[in-house]
Symmetry: C2
Subunit: 194 residues, 2 copies
């Protein structure tokens, strides 16, 4: 976590020369896809994004070679977007970006995703979220085992985690050059602790 | 493996009362999806089919609520169709059906799928194929570590495995009631051997 002078949260500035400038404007998904490609090339892990689920209604065959889908709709995914294997562990996560200035709304996470992460953890997989807080341009790995408490709290109480809670429960993901977000180093920290 | 009288390979007959009748006409993919649903409900494993990858070219918004995809094309998957976690192991496989009467053509398996299975095994995941031989209506779990030899042989030699080779290298998957194909029991046999 980066500490700013006067304890103030710095606003994102396009003129900033901070290390995070290079990621600006690049979606978290693209950054993670880039990291996964790098990890695969280096033989460090095999992690892929699942395709977006699409319900196909109509297909035409304008030529003999290629089917053209002419009517289809986006479907709600039944799981998280990413999974794979790292150091012999099954790894499963979703990525979330939050523009909120003070808290992380739990409605960002669908009920079926929570249920999926819970199942993965019950089978000794590594289940977590990667979260980008836009307000201070920081990245966090939040294990499902920590998130579970706040999901339970949300049933009758507060429907979000404060940024302080999120940072306390998460492992920081540092920005670098290759890959830009080395989130597996945060996984390493987590594995050391457990 | 079922043994037939006289050592003959029985042809599939629609009038047959064998235990495999119930699966007839049902694609292997549907059978495996059903097994995965059953395993998930029983808390035995968390294994899902990945969505079919689709390249989306055009989207229209006929109503405010729902995006309609009006032009899209099927893409070649870069990995296998199935993955998940079982007994703490990362599990990764594809399913193949073969109508061939005497051999299993290796061109059924795309190069990128071979490469993916190789990577998974290198990371200590369980990488394999589930194969349905239509000629005698039998199901087999072929570990990638066994398949690798025949892939290598195919570079300069025979481009297929004979059914005898396939059955020798694979674990049989028995048909039953729930799930219809209990392929995780074949995984158990494999784990016992290694």
């Amino acid at each position: 976590m980066i500490n700013y002078p006067n304890g103030k949260i710095r606003k994102t500035q396009t003129t900033s020369a901070s290390s995070s400038v290079k990621n600006r404007g690049m979606s978290l998904e693209k950054i993670i896809n880039g990291a996964n490609k790098f990890y695969l090339e280096q033989g460090r892990a095999v992690i892929h994004k699942k395709p977006t689920p699409v319900q196909i209604v109509n297909v035409s065959y304008p030529s003999r070679n290629k089917a053209k889908i002419t009517e289809a709709y986006y479907q709600t995914p039944s799981t998280t977007d990413y999974n794979g294997i790292y150091k012999g562990h099954y790894i499963d996560f979703d990525v979330k970006e939050s523009k909120n200035r003070t808290s992380f709304p739990l409605k960002n996470i669908h009920a079926h995703q929570i249920e999926h992460l819970r199942s993965v953890q019950a089978h000794d997989g590594l289940a977590f979220l990667i979260i980008h807080l836009k307000v201070d341009d920081t990245y966090w790995l939040l294990p499902y085992e920590k998130l579970a408490f706040y999901v339970k709290r949300a049933v009758k109480g507060r429907k979000s985690m404060t940024h302080e809670e999120l940072k306390k429960e998460s492992l920081p993901i540092k920005e670098g050059f290759r890959p830009r977000l080395d989130y597996l180093s945060a996984v390493d920290l987590w594995l050391e602790k457990t």
